[in-house]
Amino acid sequence: MSAEHAAKRLIEEYARGGADLSADEVWAVEAHLEMCRVCREQLSAAVGAGVPAVARLVDSVWSGLEPRLAVTATMPRRRRWSARLSRWMTPTMVPWLAMVVGVTLLTLLLDLAYTGTGEVSWVLLLAPVLPVLGVAASWSRGLDPAYELTASVPRAGLYLVLRRTASVLGVVVPALLVGGWATGVMVVQWLLPCLAFTSTTLALGGVVGVTRAAFGLAAVWAGVVVAPTLATSRTTFALQTGGLPVWGLVLALGTGVVIARRGAYAVLGAHR
């Protein structure tokens, strides 16, 4: 699009103070100058050439401003990756994620080293609780010093909960994929309990606080599934393929509750 510009005469008159222009012309030129870079450039040339008084004034303002501007820190060109990462998880999450990946690797080692002891897969046993711990960490008062501020912002609530949960899953699921692939466990066998547990944590978290819900569920899991499995060295029904529809149902229920109660995540209570 070819832009139209103010006539050179108008700009020169304007630079001289606009005494020879009618009021509507001054007004229009000024409005145009505010928006048009090309004409502003012409104006500054006109001032430099024809109106030394104004040029001197501008120079003196500049020389007064420059030392003060020099003190002001210039903006860095790029932000650090850790700052950008904070949009996906709380800035205090990095050690937790390292721990989760570490535990996954450990379970993998255990599985590979003790394949003879029974039919129990550690990946299967730990898959549901790993993301739950990550989700808990991203909502913990103790771990997130800015929890009260975070609870008060417009982005708080379901949106931020889901965003942080997604990023936890984004780290945990690939790690478990590697583990599952190495030990030969079917993906759906651990992925479904994993997602079901995460959604249940969030659903309960809306009532009692996400951290409490996570630790409660992790304890229930340890008592009801992990302990009997280790005692009998047999995979419990919950983790066999027959249990999958139940996990699917739990996932659907949990997701439904989270969506229905989405207002609950925007208050301080969700951080307990």
């Binding site: 505010e34 048009c36 501020l149």
Partner: protein
């Protein structure tokens, strides 16, 4: 006249004022509470039947420790849900469930315990808060710079927060509260940790903000109120004891009341005899 249409890019400069900015106000008070009750814990009513209307200006929230100031400010920041009664912010009721995103975008909040991330620089932290407050992406860098300059931290903007003194951290807290140009600004004890010179500067900033913002400052420093506030809200045991200009508070006290300044004497007079104070509003 050879005036013109411009290319799109140049045009955007002209639209610095959005439709929301020039829309007429549809409410009488920025903050309006009617019979507001907020429960803390199982059975303690920290705010117990409060009727309060606040408009544009700087309102000092005074009261003894445990009076419920922090709970009231939390309820106004919409992080605590009112147990009973009505609370309207910017004309929208914030009583029930819901995320209140539109209202929250126009609130600035500095909690009493201002938590921050030590490894962030000042700019990164305020940028992060601006993002959380849904400031449009394109205007975040400028908004952050402006907020940081207003609290006088422009020269320290790229330092890590762990290198800052307590007073500077507090100023970062104020910067993050004003980064979204809020209409309601809630500051819970903002002057804690500021030295006298910084406090003077802060009062100036308050007066500046109070020209177009509803600022509620909780404090227990009576002199802050005298210097910067257009209005005093005296709060005790979850109830409003007094609301009015600082002069009126000062005139409530006599020489027989404890205190070093007229305001302090007025403060102790009203708290000693709440019934008398309640009549004045």
């Amino acid at each position: 006249m050879t005036l013109s249409k411009n290319t799109g890019k140049e045009h955007r400069m002209a639209s610095a004022v959005s439709a929301a900015d020039i829309a007429p106000r549809a409410y009488a008070w920025e903050i309006q509470a009617t019979g507001l009750k907020v429960r803390v814990g199982r059975n303690r009513m920290a705010v117990d039947g409060l009727d309060l209307s606040l408009g544009i200006g700087v309102h000092g929230l005074l009261g003894p420790n445990g009076a419920g100031k922090t709970t009231l400010i939390r309820a106004l920041a919409t992080v605590l849900r009112p147990t009973e009664g009505g609370l309207e912010l910017l004309g929208e009721s914030v009583g029930g469930m819901g995320e209140h995103r539109a209202v929250r975008r126009r609130i600035g909040y500095l909690p009493q315990e201002f938590g921050y991330y030590k490894r962030f620089t000042v700019r990164e932290f305020v940028e992060y808060m601006a993002w959380l407050k849904e400031v449009p992406k394109a205007s975040i860098p400028a908004a952050v710079q402006r907020a940081v300059e207003r609290v006088g931290l422009a020269d320290r903007a790229d330092e890590r927060m762990k290198a800052l003194s307590g007073g500077m951290v507090r100023r970062v807290g104020i910067a993050q509260a004003i980064v979204n140009d809020p209409t309601i600004l809630l500051l819970d004890e903002p002057t804690v940790g500021l030295d006298p010179a910084q406090r003077l500067r802060f009062r100036e900033l308050l007066q500046e903000l109070g020209t177009d913002t509803c600022v509620l400052v909780s404090t227990h420093l009576v002199e802050d109120v005298a210097a910067a506030c257009t209005d005093v809200v005296l709060f005790a045991e979850g109830r409003l004891v007094f609301k009015g200009p600082p002069d009126e508070l000062a005139s409530a006290g006599g020489p027989e009341h404890v205190g070093d300044s007229p305001l302090e004497r007025g403060y102790s007079a009203l708290l000693l005899n709440p019934e008398q104070g309640r009549g004045t509003w």
